[in-house]
Symmetry: C3
Protein backbone atom coordinates (compact mmCIF):
# COMPACT_ATOMS: atom_id res chain seq x y z
CA UNK A 1 0.00 0.00 0.00
CA UNK A 2 2.71 2.37 1.02
CA UNK A 3 4.46 4.07 -1.84
CA UNK A 4 7.61 6.04 -1.61
CA UNK A 5 7.11 9.54 -2.98
CA UNK A 6 9.87 11.99 -3.72
CA UNK A 7 10.28 14.75 -1.14
CA UNK A 8 9.26 17.51 -3.56
CA UNK A 9 6.05 15.70 -4.42
CA UNK A 10 5.10 15.45 -0.74
CA UNK A 11 5.73 19.17 -0.26
CA UNK A 12 3.50 19.87 -3.26
CA UNK A 13 0.75 17.52 -2.05
CA UNK A 14 0.71 18.93 1.47
CA UNK A 15 0.99 22.48 0.15
CA UNK A 16 -2.18 21.93 -1.90
CA UNK A 17 -4.01 20.51 1.13
CA UNK A 18 -2.94 23.53 3.18
CA UNK A 19 -4.19 25.91 0.48
CA UNK A 20 -7.61 24.19 0.40
CA UNK A 21 -7.80 24.34 4.21
CA UNK A 22 -6.91 28.04 4.36
CA UNK A 23 -9.45 28.82 1.65
CA UNK A 24 -12.22 27.04 3.57
CA UNK A 25 -11.61 28.99 6.77
CA UNK A 26 -10.92 32.38 5.12
CA UNK A 27 -13.35 32.39 2.22
CA UNK A 28 -15.74 29.55 2.96
CA UNK A 29 -18.19 29.23 5.84
CA UNK A 30 -15.98 26.75 7.75
CA UNK A 31 -18.58 23.98 7.61
CA UNK A 32 -16.15 21.80 5.65
CA UNK A 33 -13.34 22.45 8.14
CA UNK A 34 -13.71 19.08 9.95
CA UNK A 35 -13.42 17.25 6.61
CA UNK A 36 -9.72 18.07 6.47
CA UNK A 37 -9.21 15.73 9.44
CA UNK A 38 -9.44 11.96 9.97
CA UNK A 39 -12.18 10.74 12.34
CA UNK A 40 -9.89 10.13 15.31
CA UNK A 41 -7.93 13.34 14.88
CA UNK A 42 -6.26 15.51 17.48
CA UNK A 43 -6.36 19.31 17.22
CA UNK A 44 -4.72 21.65 19.68
CA UNK A 45 -3.90 25.35 19.91
CA UNK A 46 -1.00 26.19 22.19
CA UNK A 47 1.77 28.78 22.58
CA UNK A 48 5.44 28.51 21.65
CA UNK A 49 6.42 28.81 25.32
CA UNK A 50 4.09 25.99 26.37
CA UNK A 51 5.18 23.85 23.46
CA UNK A 52 8.88 24.35 24.23
CA UNK A 53 8.30 23.36 27.86
CA UNK A 54 6.27 20.32 26.84
CA UNK A 55 3.30 21.58 28.80
CA UNK A 56 0.19 19.59 28.07
CA UNK A 57 -2.13 22.50 28.56
CA UNK A 58 -3.44 24.06 25.39
CA UNK A 59 -5.69 27.01 24.72
CA UNK A 60 -8.05 24.65 22.98
CA UNK A 61 -7.96 20.99 22.18
CA UNK A 62 -10.28 18.52 20.49
CA UNK A 63 -9.74 14.84 19.92
CA UNK A 64 -12.25 13.80 17.30
CA UNK A 65 -13.78 15.06 14.11
CA UNK A 66 -17.14 15.20 15.93
CA UNK A 67 -15.76 17.72 18.42
CA UNK A 68 -14.58 19.86 15.50
CA UNK A 69 -18.07 19.68 14.00
CA UNK A 70 -19.67 20.76 17.29
CA UNK A 71 -17.24 23.64 17.58
CA UNK A 72 -18.09 24.93 14.10
CA UNK A 73 -21.82 24.61 14.70
CA UNK A 74 -21.63 26.69 17.87
CA UNK A 75 -19.51 29.30 16.14
CA UNK A 76 -21.95 29.56 13.26
CA UNK A 77 -24.89 29.86 15.65
CA UNK A 78 -23.11 32.59 17.59
CA UNK A 79 -22.52 34.50 14.33
CA UNK A 80 -18.98 35.19 15.39
CA UNK A 81 -17.95 35.50 11.79
CA UNK A 82 -20.05 38.56 11.12
CA UNK A 83 -17.76 40.96 12.87
CA UNK A 84 -14.37 40.00 11.50
CA UNK A 85 -12.74 38.19 8.69
CA UNK A 86 -9.33 36.59 8.60
CA UNK A 87 -6.65 36.01 6.00
CA UNK A 88 -4.12 33.20 6.43
CA UNK A 89 -0.83 33.23 4.61
CA UNK A 90 1.27 30.09 4.84
CA UNK A 91 4.88 29.26 4.18
CA UNK A 92 6.00 26.16 2.35
CA UNK A 93 5.61 22.96 4.39
CA UNK A 94 8.82 21.61 5.88
CA UNK A 95 8.81 17.80 5.97
CA UNK A 96 9.99 16.61 9.39
CA UNK A 97 9.47 12.89 9.08
CA UNK A 98 7.94 10.26 6.85
CA UNK A 99 6.56 7.11 8.44
CA UNK A 100 4.77 4.73 6.09
CA UNK A 101 1.82 6.65 4.73
CA UNK A 102 2.03 9.36 7.39
CA UNK A 103 4.05 12.53 7.13
CA UNK A 104 4.95 15.08 9.78
CA UNK A 105 5.34 18.62 8.57
CA UNK A 106 5.79 22.14 9.92
CA UNK A 107 4.32 25.17 8.22
CA UNK A 108 4.72 28.81 9.25
CA UNK A 109 1.70 31.08 9.10
CA UNK A 110 0.60 34.68 9.55
CA UNK A 111 -3.03 35.58 10.11
CA UNK A 112 -4.41 39.05 9.49
CA UNK A 113 -7.67 40.12 11.09
CA UNK A 114 -9.90 42.43 9.12
CA UNK A 115 -12.54 44.51 10.82
CA UNK A 116 -14.91 45.31 7.99
CA UNK A 117 -14.89 49.10 8.26
CA UNK A 118 -11.81 49.46 10.43
CA UNK A 119 -8.15 48.59 10.38
CA UNK A 120 -6.46 45.36 9.32
CA UNK A 121 -3.81 44.04 11.64
CA UNK A 122 -1.48 41.14 12.13
CA UNK A 123 -3.55 38.97 14.44
CA UNK A 124 -1.38 35.93 14.98
CA UNK A 125 1.78 34.25 13.79
CA UNK A 126 3.05 30.76 14.44
CA UNK A 127 3.42 27.35 12.92
CA UNK A 128 1.36 24.28 12.28
CA UNK A 129 2.92 21.05 13.45
CA UNK A 130 0.97 18.52 11.43
CA UNK A 131 0.74 14.82 10.94
CA UNK A 132 -0.89 14.00 7.61
CA UNK A 133 -2.20 10.63 6.52
CA UNK A 134 -1.81 10.27 2.77
CA UNK A 135 -4.96 8.91 1.24
CA UNK A 136 -4.46 9.00 -2.52
CA UNK A 137 -4.02 12.63 -3.46
CA UNK A 138 -6.08 13.86 -0.52
CA UNK A 139 -3.98 14.04 2.65
CA UNK A 140 -6.00 14.21 5.89
CA UNK A 141 -4.84 15.66 9.19
CA UNK A 142 -4.27 13.09 11.92
CA UNK A 143 -2.85 15.76 14.22
CA UNK A 144 -2.65 19.53 13.98
CA UNK A 145 -0.90 21.42 16.74
CA UNK A 146 -1.20 25.15 16.19
CA UNK A 147 1.76 26.74 17.97
CA UNK A 148 1.19 30.48 18.40
CA UNK A 149 4.31 32.64 18.74
CA UNK A 150 2.81 35.09 21.22
CA UNK A 151 1.52 34.48 24.72
CA UNK A 152 -0.88 37.37 24.36
CA UNK A 153 -3.91 35.60 23.00
CA UNK A 154 -7.05 37.35 22.00
CA UNK A 155 -9.96 36.23 24.17
CA UNK A 156 -12.16 35.80 21.13
CA UNK A 157 -9.92 33.04 19.92
CA UNK A 158 -12.32 30.23 19.25
CA UNK A 159 -12.32 29.97 15.51
CA UNK A 160 -10.36 27.45 13.44
CA UNK A 161 -6.72 28.24 12.78
Amino acid sequence: MTQVRPHGELVSLIGMAQARYAREIDDGDCTAWPEFFVDDCFYKITTADNYAQNLEAGLMWMDSKDMLRDRILSLLEANVYERHSYRHLLGQPYIREIEGDEVESETSFMVARITREGPTDLFATGRYIDRYRLLGDDPKLVTRIVVLDSNQIDTLLGFPL
Copy 2:
Protein backbone atom coordinates in the same frame (compact mmCIF):
# COMPACT_ATOMS: atom_id res chain seq x y z
CA MET B 1 -4.09 21.59 -28.64
CA THR B 2 -5.33 21.07 -25.14
CA GLN B 3 -3.15 18.90 -22.98
CA VAL B 4 -4.09 17.50 -19.66
CA ARG B 5 -1.62 18.51 -17.00
CA PRO B 6 -1.46 17.08 -13.51
CA HIS B 7 -2.91 19.31 -10.80
CA GLY B 8 0.46 19.83 -9.07
CA GLU B 9 2.04 20.97 -12.32
CA LEU B 10 -0.67 23.59 -12.83
CA VAL B 11 -0.16 24.89 -9.29
CA SER B 12 3.55 25.14 -9.98
CA LEU B 13 3.05 26.87 -13.35
CA ILE B 14 0.59 29.41 -11.97
CA GLY B 15 2.71 29.92 -8.86
CA MET B 16 5.67 30.86 -11.04
CA ALA B 17 3.54 33.29 -13.05
CA GLN B 18 2.30 34.88 -9.81
CA ALA B 19 5.88 35.24 -8.55
CA ARG B 20 6.95 37.01 -11.77
CA TYR B 21 3.91 39.30 -11.54
CA ALA B 22 4.56 40.23 -7.91
CA ARG B 23 8.21 40.91 -8.68
CA GLU B 24 7.31 43.27 -11.51
CA ILE B 25 4.99 45.38 -9.38
CA ASP B 26 7.11 45.33 -6.19
CA ASP B 27 10.65 45.49 -7.57
CA GLY B 28 10.21 46.50 -11.20
CA ASP B 29 8.84 49.76 -12.58
CA CYS B 30 5.45 48.22 -13.47
CA THR B 31 5.85 48.92 -17.19
CA ALA B 32 5.68 45.17 -17.91
CA TRP B 33 2.55 44.78 -15.78
CA PRO B 34 0.14 44.69 -18.79
CA GLU B 35 2.20 41.90 -20.38
CA PHE B 36 0.89 39.44 -17.79
CA PHE B 37 -2.56 39.77 -19.39
CA VAL B 38 -4.10 38.71 -22.71
CA ASP B 39 -5.21 41.54 -25.04
CA ASP B 40 -8.91 41.25 -24.24
CA CYS B 41 -8.42 40.88 -20.51
CA PHE B 42 -10.66 41.96 -17.66
CA TYR B 43 -9.19 43.42 -14.47
CA LYS B 44 -11.24 44.53 -11.51
CA ILE B 45 -10.63 45.54 -7.91
CA THR B 46 -13.57 45.01 -5.57
CA THR B 47 -14.32 44.24 -1.93
CA ALA B 48 -15.30 40.94 -0.32
CA ASP B 49 -18.70 42.36 0.62
CA ASN B 50 -19.42 43.52 -2.93
CA TYR B 51 -18.18 40.26 -4.37
CA ALA B 52 -20.32 38.18 -2.01
CA GLN B 53 -23.40 40.20 -2.96
CA ASN B 54 -22.60 39.91 -6.68
CA LEU B 55 -22.48 43.67 -7.00
CA GLU B 56 -21.10 44.73 -10.35
CA ALA B 57 -19.53 47.87 -9.01
CA GLY B 58 -15.80 47.71 -8.51
CA LEU B 59 -13.30 50.16 -7.15
CA MET B 60 -11.53 49.98 -10.46
CA TRP B 61 -12.05 48.00 -13.61
CA MET B 62 -10.38 47.78 -16.99
CA ASP B 63 -11.32 45.58 -19.91
CA SER B 64 -8.34 45.56 -22.21
CA LYS B 65 -4.59 45.42 -22.08
CA ASP B 66 -4.53 48.93 -23.58
CA MET B 67 -6.43 50.31 -20.58
CA LEU B 68 -3.86 48.69 -18.29
CA ARG B 69 -1.07 50.35 -20.30
CA ASP B 70 -2.75 53.76 -20.03
CA ARG B 71 -3.16 53.31 -16.30
CA ILE B 72 0.53 52.53 -15.79
CA LEU B 73 1.62 55.45 -17.95
CA SER B 74 -0.46 57.90 -15.90
CA LEU B 75 0.86 56.44 -12.66
CA LEU B 76 4.46 56.72 -13.84
CA GLU B 77 3.89 60.32 -14.97
CA ALA B 78 2.34 61.19 -11.63
CA ASN B 79 5.40 59.73 -9.86
CA VAL B 80 3.11 58.02 -7.39
CA TYR B 81 5.74 55.39 -6.78
CA GLU B 82 8.24 57.77 -5.30
CA ARG B 83 6.52 58.05 -1.96
CA HIS B 84 5.82 54.43 -1.09
CA SER B 85 6.84 50.96 -1.96
CA TYR B 86 4.87 47.76 -1.60
CA ARG B 87 5.62 44.16 -0.85
CA HIS B 88 3.22 41.42 -1.94
CA LEU B 89 3.23 38.02 -0.33
CA LEU B 90 1.12 35.35 -1.95
CA GLY B 91 -0.25 32.02 -0.86
CA GLN B 92 -0.21 28.95 -3.02
CA PRO B 93 -2.77 29.07 -5.86
CA TYR B 94 -5.89 27.00 -5.32
CA ILE B 95 -7.19 25.53 -8.59
CA ARG B 96 -10.96 26.08 -8.81
CA GLU B 97 -11.65 24.80 -12.29
CA ILE B 98 -9.94 23.62 -15.44
CA GLU B 99 -11.65 24.24 -18.79
CA GLY B 100 -9.65 23.31 -21.87
CA ASP B 101 -6.53 25.47 -21.78
CA GLU B 102 -7.98 27.88 -19.22
CA VAL B 103 -7.66 27.54 -15.48
CA GLU B 104 -9.47 29.37 -12.69
CA SER B 105 -7.51 29.83 -9.51
CA GLU B 106 -7.71 31.66 -6.21
CA THR B 107 -4.67 33.02 -4.44
CA SER B 108 -4.53 34.76 -1.05
CA PHE B 109 -2.32 37.79 -0.66
CA MET B 110 -1.06 40.29 1.88
CA VAL B 111 0.42 43.61 0.83
CA ALA B 112 2.66 45.68 3.06
CA ARG B 113 3.14 49.37 2.39
CA ILE B 114 6.54 50.83 3.16
CA THR B 115 6.99 54.54 3.66
CA ARG B 116 10.68 55.03 3.01
CA GLU B 117 11.65 56.69 6.28
CA GLY B 118 8.58 55.77 8.30
CA PRO B 119 6.66 52.72 9.39
CA THR B 120 5.74 49.60 7.43
CA ASP B 121 2.18 48.43 7.76
CA LEU B 122 -0.20 45.82 6.49
CA PHE B 123 -1.87 47.75 3.69
CA ALA B 124 -4.27 45.23 2.21
CA THR B 125 -5.25 41.58 2.32
CA GLY B 126 -7.48 39.61 0.02
CA ARG B 127 -7.47 37.13 -2.79
CA TYR B 128 -6.99 37.05 -6.51
CA ILE B 129 -9.70 35.26 -8.44
CA ASP B 130 -7.95 34.56 -11.70
CA ARG B 131 -8.61 32.98 -15.02
CA TYR B 132 -5.37 32.00 -16.72
CA ARG B 133 -4.95 31.00 -20.34
CA LEU B 134 -2.12 28.50 -20.63
CA LEU B 135 0.17 29.40 -23.49
CA GLY B 136 3.10 26.98 -23.34
CA ASP B 137 4.84 27.62 -20.05
CA ASP B 138 3.72 31.23 -19.90
CA PRO B 139 0.18 31.52 -18.52
CA LYS B 140 -1.53 34.86 -19.24
CA LEU B 141 -4.35 36.42 -17.22
CA VAL B 142 -7.70 36.47 -19.02
CA THR B 143 -9.41 37.78 -15.88
CA ARG B 144 -8.11 39.01 -12.55
CA ILE B 145 -10.60 40.02 -9.90
CA VAL B 146 -8.81 41.43 -6.87
CA VAL B 147 -11.13 40.89 -3.89
CA LEU B 148 -10.04 43.05 -0.96
CA ASP B 149 -11.04 41.83 2.50
CA SER B 150 -11.66 45.26 3.96
CA ASN B 151 -14.19 47.90 2.96
CA GLN B 152 -11.88 50.61 4.20
CA ILE B 153 -9.93 51.37 1.06
CA ASP B 154 -7.10 53.80 0.90
CA THR B 155 -7.94 56.69 -1.42
CA LEU B 156 -4.55 56.43 -3.06
CA LEU B 157 -5.45 53.03 -4.40
CA GLY B 158 -4.69 53.28 -8.04
CA PHE B 159 -1.65 51.12 -8.47
CA PRO B 160 -1.61 47.52 -9.71
CA LEU B 161 -2.47 44.82 -7.22
Copy 3:
Protein backbone atom coordinates in the same frame (compact mmCIF):
# COMPACT_ATOMS: atom_id res chain seq x y z
CA MET C 1 28.57 17.18 -13.56
CA THR C 2 26.11 19.86 -14.46
CA GLN C 3 22.65 18.63 -15.17
CA VAL C 4 19.90 20.63 -16.70
CA ARG C 5 16.88 20.71 -14.42
CA PRO C 6 13.46 21.96 -15.42
CA HIS C 7 12.58 25.41 -14.13
CA GLY C 8 9.78 24.12 -11.88
CA GLU C 9 12.12 21.63 -10.23
CA LEU C 10 14.61 24.39 -9.40
CA VAL C 11 11.85 26.50 -7.86
CA SER C 12 10.82 23.50 -5.77
CA LEU C 13 14.39 22.71 -4.69
CA ILE C 14 15.18 26.29 -3.72
CA GLY C 15 11.79 26.67 -2.04
CA MET C 16 12.57 23.68 0.17
CA ALA C 17 15.99 25.11 1.06
CA GLN C 18 14.36 28.44 1.96
CA ALA C 19 11.81 26.68 4.16
CA ARG C 20 14.56 24.83 6.07
CA TYR C 21 16.48 28.10 6.48
CA ALA C 22 13.46 30.01 7.79
CA ARG C 23 12.66 27.20 10.21
CA GLU C 24 16.19 27.24 11.64
CA ILE C 25 16.13 30.96 12.35
CA ASP C 26 12.50 31.14 13.56
CA ASP C 27 12.11 27.88 15.45
CA GLY C 28 15.64 26.60 15.92
CA ASP C 29 18.45 28.17 17.92
CA CYS C 30 20.23 29.49 14.83
CA THR C 31 23.37 27.43 15.45
CA ALA C 32 22.85 25.65 12.11
CA TRP C 33 22.39 28.95 10.29
CA PRO C 34 25.94 29.01 8.82
CA GLU C 35 25.43 25.50 7.40
CA PHE C 36 23.11 26.89 4.75
CA PHE C 37 26.09 28.66 3.18
CA VAL C 38 29.22 27.52 1.33
CA ASP C 39 32.55 28.19 3.06
CA ASP C 40 33.48 31.22 0.96
CA CYS C 41 30.04 32.77 1.07
CA PHE C 42 29.03 36.41 0.99
CA TYR C 43 26.17 37.69 3.16
CA LYS C 44 24.98 41.27 3.23
CA ILE C 45 22.02 43.22 4.58
CA THR C 46 21.25 46.43 2.74
CA THR C 47 18.31 48.69 1.88
CA ALA C 48 16.37 48.96 -1.37
CA ASP C 49 17.59 52.55 -1.84
CA ASN C 50 21.24 51.57 -1.39
CA TYR C 51 20.82 48.55 -3.63
CA ALA C 52 19.17 50.59 -6.39
CA GLN C 53 22.00 53.12 -6.29
CA ASN C 54 24.64 50.37 -6.32
CA LEU C 55 26.06 51.61 -3.04
CA GLU C 56 28.56 49.19 -1.60
CA ALA C 57 27.72 50.04 1.96
CA GLY C 58 25.57 47.56 3.75
CA LEU C 59 24.08 47.45 7.22
CA MET C 60 25.97 44.24 7.81
CA TRP C 61 28.19 42.10 5.65
CA MET C 62 30.17 38.93 6.15
CA ASP C 63 32.34 37.12 3.64
CA SER C 64 32.92 33.66 5.03
CA LYS C 65 31.05 30.94 6.85
CA ASP C 66 33.41 31.49 9.81
CA MET C 67 32.21 35.08 10.18
CA LEU C 68 28.61 33.82 10.22
CA ARG C 69 29.54 31.35 12.97
CA ASP C 70 31.17 34.09 15.05
CA ARG C 71 28.11 36.27 14.63
CA ILE C 72 25.78 33.55 15.87
CA LEU C 73 27.99 32.74 18.84
CA SER C 74 28.00 36.37 19.98
CA LEU C 75 24.25 36.61 19.56
CA LEU C 76 23.70 33.45 21.59
CA GLU C 77 26.04 34.69 24.32
CA ALA C 78 24.24 38.01 24.46
CA ASN C 79 20.92 36.20 24.86
CA VAL C 80 19.36 38.49 22.34
CA TYR C 81 16.82 35.84 21.49
CA GLU C 82 15.20 35.85 24.88
CA ARG C 83 13.29 39.04 24.37
CA HIS C 84 11.75 38.58 20.97
CA SER C 85 10.89 35.97 18.46
CA TYR C 86 10.47 36.32 14.74
CA ARG C 87 8.36 34.72 12.05
CA HIS C 88 9.49 34.76 8.43
CA LEU C 89 7.04 34.26 5.61
CA LEU C 90 8.51 33.83 2.15
CA GLY C 91 7.14 34.08 -1.34
CA GLN C 92 7.97 31.64 -4.08
CA PRO C 93 11.51 31.97 -5.41
CA TYR C 94 11.81 33.72 -8.76
CA ILE C 95 14.66 32.27 -10.85
CA ARG C 96 16.74 35.11 -12.33
CA GLU C 97 19.53 33.17 -13.96
CA ILE C 98 21.01 29.71 -14.24
CA GLU C 99 24.75 29.35 -14.74
CA GLY C 100 26.11 25.82 -14.68
CA ASP C 101 25.33 24.47 -11.23
CA GLU C 102 24.61 27.92 -9.77
CA VAL C 103 21.24 29.61 -9.72
CA GLU C 104 20.33 33.21 -8.94
CA SER C 105 16.93 33.72 -7.38
CA GLU C 106 14.86 36.44 -5.76
CA THR C 107 12.44 35.73 -2.94
CA SER C 108 10.13 38.21 -1.21
CA PHE C 109 9.75 38.04 2.54
CA MET C 110 7.86 39.53 5.45
CA VAL C 111 9.14 39.22 9.01
CA ALA C 112 6.91 39.64 12.04
CA ARG C 113 8.43 40.42 15.43
CA ILE C 114 6.72 38.94 18.45
CA THR C 115 7.28 40.39 21.88
CA ARG C 116 6.31 37.54 24.15
CA GLU C 117 3.68 39.28 26.25
CA GLY C 118 3.12 42.27 23.99
CA PRO C 119 2.08 43.05 20.45
CA THR C 120 3.14 41.39 17.21
CA ASP C 121 4.10 43.69 14.41
CA LEU C 122 5.42 43.68 10.89
CA PHE C 123 9.12 44.13 11.53
CA ALA C 124 10.64 44.04 8.08
CA THR C 125 9.82 43.35 4.46
CA GLY C 126 12.12 42.90 1.51
CA ARG C 127 13.66 40.35 -0.76
CA TYR C 128 16.50 37.91 -0.77
CA ILE C 129 18.77 38.11 -3.80
CA ASP C 130 20.47 34.75 -3.66
CA ARG C 131 23.02 32.75 -5.54
CA TYR C 132 22.66 29.05 -4.78
CA ARG C 133 25.16 26.33 -5.62
CA LEU C 134 23.33 23.11 -6.32
CA LEU C 135 24.95 20.23 -4.52
CA GLY C 136 22.74 17.21 -5.07
CA ASP C 137 19.41 18.00 -3.48
CA ASP C 138 20.95 20.37 -0.95
CA PRO C 139 21.50 23.82 -2.44
CA LYS C 140 23.91 26.04 -0.50
CA LEU C 141 24.03 29.82 -0.50
CA VAL C 142 27.06 31.30 -2.25
CA THR C 143 25.64 34.81 -1.86
CA ARG C 144 22.68 36.18 0.03
CA ILE C 145 21.92 39.87 -0.24
CA VAL C 146 19.04 40.81 2.03
CA VAL C 147 17.44 43.91 0.55
CA LEU C 148 15.19 45.62 3.09
CA ASP C 149 12.38 47.77 1.72
CA SER C 150 12.54 50.41 4.43
CA ASN C 151 15.37 52.74 5.36
CA GLN C 152 14.16 52.85 8.92
CA ILE C 153 16.13 50.01 10.41
CA ASP C 154 15.76 48.85 13.95
CA THR C 155 18.99 49.32 15.88
CA LEU C 156 18.74 45.82 17.30
CA LEU C 157 19.12 44.39 13.86
CA GLY C 158 21.94 41.94 14.25
CA PHE C 159 20.23 38.61 13.92
CA PRO C 160 20.10 36.44 10.80
CA LEU C 161 17.55 37.35 8.17
